[in-house]
């Protein structure tokens, strides 16, 4: 099995690749690549992403990855992580940036000055371990307790037009979509590669997922 982690110059690709290697079988190969041919030949595709949405989209498009990733998103198990999730949407408020439009919806910024249930001020970025509550059954949640904590670090969140795409929610000042599922696409706002046991479980589920 060939798993490609798409390299477009943004994000901690090495950590993502190492975490997948840790959970994949010995016969699987994990390749960090920016080649459209590698993405076409892959059995599974992971699109990580960190940094500003505008820079991510720019790097992504300038490497000519749109078509190959679009084809992968329609045909094979596909995992988006953090900005790799946000890029799947129509548009982000961050730098007024158009996304890839695979999933209808918007990416919005957390408001400054939000307060939690206890009245404490909520800071932005949303940084740390927060609870992820699955709202639909999905093979990627196998072995993960509802409310399990994953590591987040982001200032923007996805808002799908159709709430049926929401696979999990998380509360931070408001209830936001922390995972989406649409056919063979699964995407998460948190970082499974940095989320200890729960994160490795999710990656392991992805590696064996047959949509």
């Amino acid at each position: 099995m060939k798993i490609v982690v798409v390299d477009y110059g943004m994000g901690n690709l090495r950590s993502v690749a190492k975490a997948i290697e840790k959970v994949a079988s010995a016969s699987a190969s994990v390749l960090i690549s920016s080649s459209a041919a590698d993405i076409q030949a892959a059995d599974r595709v992971v699109v990580p992403g960190q940094g500003a949405m505008h820079d991510c989209m720019h790097e992504f498009l300038s490497r000519g990855l749109r078509e190959a990733v679009f084809a992968a998103a329609q045909s094979k198990p596909f995992l988006g992580i953090c900005v790799g999730m946000q890029m799947l949407f129509d548009h982000s408020e961050e730098g007024d940036t158009p996304g890839l439009g695979f999933i209808p919806g918007q990416v919005r910024r957390f408001a400054d000055g939000m307060a939690g249930q206890d009245g404490a001020r909520l800071k932005v970025p949303h940084m740390g371990w927060n609870e992820v509550n699955p709202v639909l059954p999905h093979p990627l949640w196998q072995g993960i307790e509802p409310g399990a904590r994953f590591y987040f670090v982001h200032s923007y969140y996805c808002q799908p037009t159709d709430s049926a795409a929401t696979a999990a929610t998380t509360d931070y000042g408001l209830r936001f979509t922390s995972a989406v599922a649409q056919a063979n696409i699964f995407a998460v706002q948190f970082h499974p590669e940095k989320s200890a046991t729960a994160g490795l479980q999710l990656l392991s589920n992805f590696v064996s997922w047959q949509p």
């Binding site: 950590s15 740390g128 927060n130």
Partner: protein, 252 residues
């Protein structure tokens, strides 16, 4: 609800973890990779590595340590010490760091914070502030491992680095570092209330109550400690259980 983070800190020199008292008198605490793995098993929320020598040789040793840790430990890693350029930031991120901390370089070249966060995103840039009380309710910023006093006020500097693009502040009280008498809670609260980005409290932890105080009274988003974990006084899990029993939301 977002959990408050507990972050063991590993000060590294010549490939070993060490711990000093008031930034002086170093004592050996072991192998960084082994210690990182142990804290991960105990449920640490993140790990911070500070290269306290940061000569050019030490930099390569540090990169190698970060690579080894990142291959085995799947929680966020922050690395700092001697970071002077965007190229330094990139090298550490490529080695497997998730966040890079800068201190003296940010003070002498604030543009570096803006430039680095513009390139790699503000979530990757931590500004470390070493603060020392110079008058009641007033703290000065020190650089060079606490040897040089600057003209900066710690609270104003924290607000400035937030505007420049820092994603987080690692705030160390130099009066308390290594003393084990607890955080400078007035300092932690003053900075935490002054900015809208997360603040990690550091310096002075001697028992578990101090950690809880940092969050409850200091209003820190995360607490950092070294010696209470390094010398086996407490595990990270014990710290979390203690904090939970005092009403603090933690990941257990």
């Amino acid at each position: 609800m977002l959990a408050k983070r507990i972050i063991p800190c590993l000060d590294v020199t010549a490939g070993r973890v060490v711990k000093g008292v008031n930034f002086l008198e170093l004592r050996d605490a072991g192998d960084p990779v082994e210690i990182a793995r142990r804290y991960d098993e105990q449920g640490a929320d993140e790990l911070t590595f500070l290269d306290i020598t940061a000569s050019s040789d030490a930099r390569d040793i540090m990169l190698h340590i970060v690579e080894q840790v990142a291959n085995q430990v799947f929680i966020p890693l922050t690395v700092g010490g001697g970071v002077r350029s965007v190229a330094d930031v990139r090298r550490l991120l490529n080695a497997g760091a998730d966040k890079v901390s800068m201190n003296s370089a940010a003070v002498y070249n604030p543009e570096l914070v803006a430039e680095a966060s513009g390139k790699v995103g503000n979530q990757c840039i931590v500004v470390a502030i070493d603060a020392k009380r110079i008058a009641p309710g007033k703290w000065g910023v020190f650089t060079h491992g606490g040897r040089k006093l600057t003209e900066l006020d710690a609270i104003e500097w924290a607000q400035r680095v937030e505007k420049l693009g820092a994603g987080e502040i690692l705030l160390t009280s130099m009066d308390r570092d290594g003393t084990k008498i607890g955080f400078d809670l007035a300092l932690v609260r003053a900075v935490s209330d002054a900015v809208n980005i997360p603040v990690i409290a550091s310096g002075g932890v001697g028992n578990l109550q101090h950690l809880a105080d940092g969050v409850i009274e200091g209003r820190a988003d995360a607490v950092l400690a070294a010696s209470i974990f390094h010398y086996g006084e407490h595990t990270v899990r014990e710290a979390k259980e203690y904090m939970r029993s005092h009403g603090v939301e933690v990941r257990l």
